[in-house]
Every structure is written in C-alpha cells, then in structure tokens.
Amino acid sequence: MNPYLRFDLDFILRHVPDFGPAILMTLGVFFTSLVAAFVGGVLLAIARQIRGPLCWAATVYIELMRNTPSLLHLFFVFFGLPLIGIVWSPFVCGVVALSAQHAAFLAEIIRGAIQMLSRQQREAGWALGLLPGKVMRYIILPQACRNSIPAVGNQSVLLLHDTALVSAIGIVEIMLTARSLAERSAASFEMFVTIGVIYLALSSVLSLSTGFLERYYAFER
C-alpha cells in the first residue's frame, strides 16, 4: 500500500453534483443512438430479406461495421467527414458513429429473430391476401421485435458502454467529466472508481428493465 495516498472519500462526495449533467449527457447520447440504431437495424434487417443488390449492400455494410472498432468510427466521422465538407457538432458525430455501428449489430439480431419465426406465419399472411410488405409490417416484424428483446437489451448495454468513447471527441459526459476532474486532482483512482460504480448502476438498471419488458411482452400460453 502506498503510504502517501489514501482513498479520498471526501473528494468524491464533494464532486458528486458535477456528475448530474454528465449522466444526463451520457443518457442523451445513449437514447438518441439507441433509437437511431434500432430504426437503422430494422431497415437493414428488412433489406437483407429482399433478394437483390440491396441485400448485398446491407450485408457488406453490416460486416464492415461489425469488424471495425467504434473508436475508429468516431474518429472517421469527427476528423474525416469535415474534409469532404460535412461538419457536425461533436454530439451529432458521436450519435451518428455509434448508431451507424450498432445498427449493424441490431440488424443481425433482428434478422435472426425473423428467421426464427416459422414459415407458416408468412404463408398465413399471404393466404389472408396481404401484400409482402404488409406481411412484414403487421405479422413478421412485431413478433420478431418482441422475440429479440433480450438480445437487444444485451446490445444496448454494450451501446451504453460505447458512449464512454465519445469522451474522445470532446463530449462532456461521465467519462470526460471524470478525466478532467482526475487531471486537476490527485484523486484519479477515486474518480474512476466512482464512475465505475455509476456505469455499473446504469447497466444494471438497463438489464433489469430489459427483463421487465421481456416479461411484459411474453407470450400468454
């Protein structure tokens, strides 16, 4: 044990109020990205159901996104896009980069859920005289979305963790608040223990609410 240092609890307690806006910012980035990623994921999953060039494009996009790190996506959007004339605020950059990547993960999840549904669902829809688009919209997608709740919940925890990366492009959320507080004090370790606890609490709330949603939308058998 280093005799010169002790765990500085007072420091943490003094700076707890600083984390209020930071948590709000993290949640803002998180929810915006989650909604955008979910919409993108559903569209990509539908594109993969249709034979043709659109399916190929969606597959290539998904594999590219899944096999490259989020941090590089953030740098690409934040440093790369301005060079071709697209200048966005850090918040928009963060949301675009995170949701572009997580849309690919969610697309795979939703595609899996669509494939798990039995063929009869689709055929029953056709037999009722529904067009393929309406079968997708009213029969396949609602069931696929409900069945994918646990996996989407898991993925959203990973998205929450990825929001810590947007500190690298200067969005003042939990991570950047902790880093700047740690920089002007000797209590770095204390600071990161604090935000570790914050992230753990946020992830726990997220997985608890996923479990709740899962039970709420469960089949009544």
Binding site: N2, L64, F75, S188, V193, Y199
Partner: protein, 215 residues
Amino acid sequence: MEDFSAMLFHMGRAAQVTLALAMVCVVLSTVVGLILGIVGMLSGPIVSGLIRSIVYVFRGIPILVQIFLVYFGLPFFGILVNPYTVAALAISLHISAYVAEIVRGSIVSLPKIQNEGGLALGMMPAQVVLWITLPQALKAALPPYISLVPITIKATSLASIISIWELTLASKEVANQTLQAFEVFGVAFALYFIICFPFTWFGYHLEKKLTAYSH
C-alpha cells in the same frame, strides 16, 4: 504516391502492435475466463456467488473505464507497470468475464441426463465433469468464444487512449500529419477488417456446422 506507401508501411507496423496486444489479451482472457467459468460451476454457493459477482462487475463496467481503473489503480496500491501491461490486463479482465459467462452458459444448458448417465455408469463426479460435461460444454461454447476474438481485437483500439501506439493511434497521428484523414482512416478500417473478418467468418461457419448436427 511515395507518401502513400510510407503511410501503409507505418500503419502496417501499427497493425502488428494491435495484433500482438490482441493475442496476449485473447490468451490471458481465455485462461482466466475458463478458470472462472469452470471453478464457478464446480464450487459451493459462496465461491460461485463470489465469482458470479466478479463477472457481473467486470461485464457491467465499460472497458475504457476499466483501463483507467487499472492505470490509476495499480500505482494506488504501489504497483508500477508500463501502459502495455495495463491495457493487456484491463482488456483481458473484461473479456475473461465474457468467456466465463459463455462457459457457464454452455455448462448450464447441457441436459441433466448427461450427468446422471455418467453417474449411473459408475463414474466419480470429477470423472463425469472431465469426460462428459466439459467436452460437450466446451464444444457448444466454441462459436460464441470465437466471436469474442474480433471483439477483443476491436477492444485493443481503446488502448490508444492511454497513448499506446497501435493501429487507432497511428492512424490518428498520420491523419493529423498528412491531413488526409479520409484515406488514412479508410486504410485503418481495411486493416481492422482484414484482421477481424476471418474470425467472424469462422464463428459463423462453426455455428452453422454445430447447429446442423444438433437438430
């Protein structure tokens, strides 16, 4: 054009650092994760509860925060190590929690009859674990485990934040110097994709093969 080949060479070397770091992390996290997963299943309620809560905490905290926790935590307890060790340790700890979870999941999902069959044949409990439970469980765990490899490789990009010179940091540097961020990040994307995609593809392949047998 000479610029471009120099850039490629520079980033190729950075990709080697990424690969080396990822390899260390994969090996470390496999060993730690297997131990955590198997010991957690075999031991009594106290030890397995402890292991499960450790796994829960490691999975619930972002890797970036864990990197900083190790970075500042080890010196706090008087242990001084270089940043490479910090990154390798932090990433491995996070990934090993996933490995442990996969191992636990595949052991739990084995039908109970397997166990009882072994016991009925007169095997000792340890023999049942060694010859019946583990071979089947580890086989079932293989596809999700393989899909952790690209996740680990991608996680090493976070080491750039504690200024370890690997592919992400190198591409950021080169982009800043050449002002050709578009091309440079494009090359970095391609390199990461070339490193990660074989594992992703192998994971798909294995999963298809294993599910084809089981149904």
